[in-house]
């Protein structure tokens, strides 16, 4: 009877992990109902001794009836018997549910269809678990359907499942295994009873409580280890970094690709504790380059997304050079650079290549294709992880004159589209900020300056969202956010001003380590790209850089403020770290961008961090572990010293007499040497046992026995006699006993007693005992069944004229 319930509980526990997948909790109760119905059907078949094969069909049937009742009762006959129309209704709901799931990313709204699918799925899992655990008596195998259920949130959710959810699921499974073990052993007879709680129930059924207890002990330990161990070992869990680009539902060979909410992923990455290396690159001119992954060109009022990207076989990057960068005039001056990029092996699924813009040629293994408009390079078959590829870029080198001369380009009108209903105050602010600008270029410059310097913006990862209201808040009131808000706001405002704009997502140039540049998780970045005719898309950088901003962000050279009197061609150098530029032939850094200094500050600790060698870390960790491991030994030494002094003084300190101190020290010694006394052993019995064990040596034996007897009989008198007048034990007695005990055990045991004395860990054990007692008490809260049996027993006893208390045995000291 218990097994079906345990199976149901296990399924319910694992279903709880589905919680983050849904908005709202209606699915939960419906699913619990499904489990309840399946469990009830299973229990009923067992109760009625139905044949084994009948179980699953009956459970299926009950599940079907339940789903009909829950979702189509108004169309069913007597609410539960399915009719043609109710089946049709269910079918419709299933279809709708699938559509919803296709359409939404987790967390999905718990629509009726989705709830039906969930409840049905959970119910089916419950049937499978029951089939394995109850019908086939293979409780361990029942873990497979449970695991399948558990995998759903693990697979779908980008964040790892929290450990409490894991604990819950694991305990559900352990409970099922324990119940199975109990039932199995219960058929053999009574288990050996050591800890008995109730006298009554063992009389009618074999008691397997003790067994369950050990099962729980093992289960608790295993689950605790499973949680604690990975936490203790650094870098054991593969970090879910770079998990944007997750191919939801696309296998390696799929032909379509879905893009998750890249912006949300970005925020997640920046907030991550860990700062892992994503990729490293070297470039021919040793300059940092922003590496773009996505180009988001549609703003729907809530967020930036990608328009449909298409690329045929002819667009494979292996077929030849990439399409020409849109908007770049054929004869314009470009700076050619080559970059060799190596992506780490352990990043998450990524089907887009991080590339400097604009790439003209990409040499990468695999089926990588370029999108015509955005020049994004992606694959439906291959993953970027572990890939190493070579990129040739031709960066436009616009002069301010070229930029000033930019005219609106009708081809890029779609990059001006804005959803209706945006706060008009944002547009007003854009106009106010850019007042006095005479060209799109100047407007863009003023916007960037406003964001980074004059607008009073603060960098913070706490901010959320970048659409409608969040945008207004960011631009008008809060002025707090990170690259997502900055990039989005600048792109939207640029569009408002009539400058074609889009948002790029990728990485900043990273920091220099040795000869190459290293890009880490925290370098994930979003920035706006603005379009100027004749030049094409240009990167802008509204996000503050440096320690109080995006660490390695860097403003592009062409946007640096030009001194009013300087010649238009004289642009300041990009920063202290950049060397003389070979093509621009700079005129010296008369204006040093203060943010560059900050950027260096921000980058410096990261470089330093890589300098800490892992061996040093391991050594430090080992040393710390050693110190921790020796704490019990140190505590033991202290305690022993204190007791010895107390015994030597013969007095009483803090209510503990010398006799007591000698006795507890003797007990602790016995625990350390593996001869612990059980609570049922009296001092005299202990003395007898030790005399047998240690008194064998004719030379030292009598002295040892005398010492033991002194300690034990003094304690005996202290406890039980009216007066204590026997000679109190001396410190020498303790020393004698310790020596004798030490010589009676193996060298290994002696060493263990000295280094990791078990007696100091007794309080841990006591704590555990208490916890297990708590478990026992829970175990004793048995609903009706046991209770009724107990009453029957009581009645029987009363008939014999004896009433006994079904209570616990004697108190435990």
């Amino acid at each position: 009877m218990k097994l079906p319930i345990a199976a149901g509980l296990a399924t319910a526990a694992v279903s709880l992990t589905l919680y983050p997948l849904f908005n709202g909790g209606s699915w939960f109760w419906t699913s619990m109902g499904a489990i309840l119905v399946v469990t009830g059907a299973s229990a009923a078949t067992i109760r009625l001794r139905a044949p084994l094969w009948a179980g699953p069909p009956i459970m299926f049937l009950s599940l079907a009836l339940y789903l009909t009742l829950a979702f189509a009762y108004n169309l069913a006959w007597l609410w539960i018997i399915p009719t043609k129309s109710s089946v049709y209704m269910i079918g419709m709901l299933v279809t709708a549910g699938f559509e919803d799931i296709q359409q939404f990313a987790a967390p999905v709204p718990a629509s009726e269809g989705v709830t039906l699918l969930t409840a049905g799925g959970v119910g089916l899992i419950a049937v499978l678990v029951d089939l394995f655990a109850v019908r086939l008596r293979q409780a361990a195998l029942a873990g497979l359907p449970l695991l399948a259920l558990f995998c759903v949130p693990v697979e779908v959710m980008p964040d790892p499942i929290g450990w409490p959810a894991f604990v819950l699921g694991a305990f559900g499974y352990v409970g099922l295994l324990v119940a199975d073990g109990r039932e199995r052993l219960g058929q053999w007879g009574r288990a050996v009873l050591v800890r008995r709680s109730r006298a009554s129930h063992a009389r009618t059924t074999p008691d397997t409580g003790r067994l369950a207890l050990s099962g729980r002990r093992i289960g608790v330990t295993a689950v605790a280890l499973a949680i604690v161990l990975p936490a203790l070992l650094p870098n054991l869990t593969p970090s879910p970094l770079m998990s944007f680009g997750v191919g939801n539902g696309t296998g390696p060979g799929g032909s379509s690709i879905t893009i998750p909410d890249a912006i949300a992923e970005l925020g997640g990455q920046l907030r991550q504790q860990e700062n892992a290396t994503v990729l490293t690159y070297t470039s021919s001119d040793d300059q940092p380059r922003y590496l773009r992954i996505y180009s988001l060109d549609i703003f729907d009022g809530r967020k930036w997304t990608l328009s449909k990207i298409t690329a045929g076989e002819e667009d494979r990057v292996s077929e030849g050079p990439l399409p020409a960068p849109p908007g770049l005039a054929p004869g314009a001056a470009v700076k050619r650079a080559e970059t060799q990029i190596a992506i780490s092996d352990d990043i998450g699924p990524l089907r887009f290549l991080p590339l400097p813009y604009p790439a003209t040629q990409v040499d990468a293994d695999g089926d990588w294709r370029a999108d015509q408009n955005s020049l994004m390079v992606y694959s439906t078959k291959d993953q970027a992880a572990g890939l190493s590829y070579h990129v040739v870029t031709g960066e436009p080198e616009p002069t301010p004159e070229q930029l000033e001369a930019s005219v609106p380009d009708p081809q890029s009108d779609r990059y001006l589209e804005l959803p209706p209903g945006l706060d008009p105050r944002v547009a007003a602010m854009a106009a106010q900020v850019t007042a006095g600008a005479t060209s799109e270029y100047q407007q863009a410059m003023k916007l960037q300056e406003w964001f980074t310097r004059t607008g009073g913006f603060t960098y913070s990862l706490e901010a959320q969202g970048s659409g409608g209201r969040a945008l207004s808040r960011f631009v008008l009131t809060d002025r707090t956010g990170y690259c997502e808000q900055f990039a989005s706001a600048m792109a939207v405002m640029a569009r408002m001003l009539g400058i074609p704009a889009r948002v790029a997502i990728g990485f900043t140039g990273g920091s220099k380590v040795g000869d190459s540049w290293m890009v880490r998780t925290h370098d994930a970045h979003a920035w706006p790209e603005l379009y100027f005719s004749g030049v094409g898309w240009l990167r802008f950088e509204p996000t503050p850089a440096g320690g109080a901003g995006q660490g390695t962000a860097q403003v592009p050279q062409y946007t640096l403020p030009v001194l009013p009197n300087a010649s238009p061609s004289a642009t300041p150098s990009a920063g202290a770290s950049s060397g003389p530029d070979d093509t621009s032939g700079t005129s010296g850094p008369q204006v040093r961008n203060p943010r560059d200094f900050e950027r260096d500050l921000g980058a410096a600790p990261q470089i330093q961090e890589t300098g800490t060698p892992i061996t040093v870390k391991i050594a430090l960790g080992l040393a710390a572990a050693l110190v921790l491991a020796l704490i019990p030994a140190a505590v033991r030494l202290l305690v022993r010293g204190r007791r010895r002094r107390l015994v030597a003084s013969g007095g009483i300190r803090r209510g503990v007499s010398a006799v007591q101190a000698a006795w507890t020290e003797l007990c602790d010694l016995l625990i350390d040497y593996g001869m612990a006394r059980n609570p049922g052993e009296s001092p005299r019995a202990l003395s007898r046992r030790l005399a047998e064990r240690l008194g064998g040596d004719t030379r030292t034996g009598p002295a040892v026995i005398a010492a033991i007897t002194t300690i034990t009989s003094a304690e005996e008198r202290r406890r039980y006699a009216r007066t204590a007048y026997e000679p109190a034990p001396k410190a020498a007695d303790l020393a004698t006993v310790k020596k004798a005990l030490a010589s009676a055990v193996s060298r290994k045991r002696r060493l263990a007693a000295a280094l990791t004395p078990p007696s100091t860990l007794m309080w841990v054990r006591a704590l555990g005992e208490k916890a297990l007692d708590g478990f026992d008490r829970l175990e004793n809260i048995r609903p009706s069944l046991r209770g009724q049996r107990g009453t029957a027993d009581g009645a029987e006893r009363e008939d014999r004229g004896e009433v006994r208390e079904p209570t616990l045995t004697g108190p435990r000291s």
Partner: protein
Amino acid sequence: MAATPDVTAAEVPLETLVDTANRIRRAIESVIEGKGDVVRLTLTVLLAEGHLLIEDVPGVGKTMLAKALARSIDCPVKRVQFTPDLLPSDVTGVSAYNQQNGEFEFKPGPVFANIVVGDEINRASPKTQSALLECMEERQVTVDGVTYGLGSPFMVIATQNPIEMEGTYALPEAQRDRFTAKIAMGYPAPAAELEMLDVHGASQPLDKLEPVATTAEVRALIQAIRAVYVSQSVKKYAIDIVTATRTSPDLALGASPRATLHMVRCARAHAALSGRDYVIPDDLRDLAVPVLAHRLLPSMEAQGQRRLPEQTIVDLVARVPVPDTK
């Protein structure tokens, strides 16, 4: 019989007590070979003012033990051979009409002695058994409305054959409960048996047994034992053991509160015989089986598994934690 003389504990130091007890023990052991623990328990029960039930097969010296104890204390000893036709008045005594003075006169029965040996008690009818058992508990006999007190010390040593033997009436639980302890003699060791042949072959050693103590001395010992100290925690320990028997699934019937009383009393005697003026848990542990086992009924399950109450008690006692405070 004479009223108990006013003897206080202070008059008998522990050393005297141990000395006297050892004298009695040696006297008995000169007759019963190689049964030191049985003799010691017998003495314990005597000093705890209890009654002893000796159960064993015929011919292992049950009666001899009872007689030897009686003989070594200089006190009246009566022996009743229980048979199926024995009547209650044969045990307690009867009022007979005296023709000379025309009055009814009480003829005391065999219970009017300090030590009464009830041989093969389970052969008598329950009616007669209960007559004896009433005297044991009340320490008095009521015949024709007149109550007669019994002597002090008063100890019944009943022997019985295991109930499986033919022609016996098993003692009901309620009556077994009145006996403080039950012991089995057991067969003697071969060496002891050989010695027995040598000794008993030449003469009857019981005849040579001289009293080594007086009833007054024994009464003083009993008084002294009442003064043995039992700490609260040890009393609680006794209750723990008894409670354990009441809740054990192996036992259908646990020990009674009277059992607790008997146990603590015996523990005092046991402690005193060991030369201690305080009781330790070990005293209770040593006595748990003889004092408790005969009062318990094994559960059906334990019977099925052939688990004797003795074994159950040993297991239970090993599990009850000893007290570590006063």
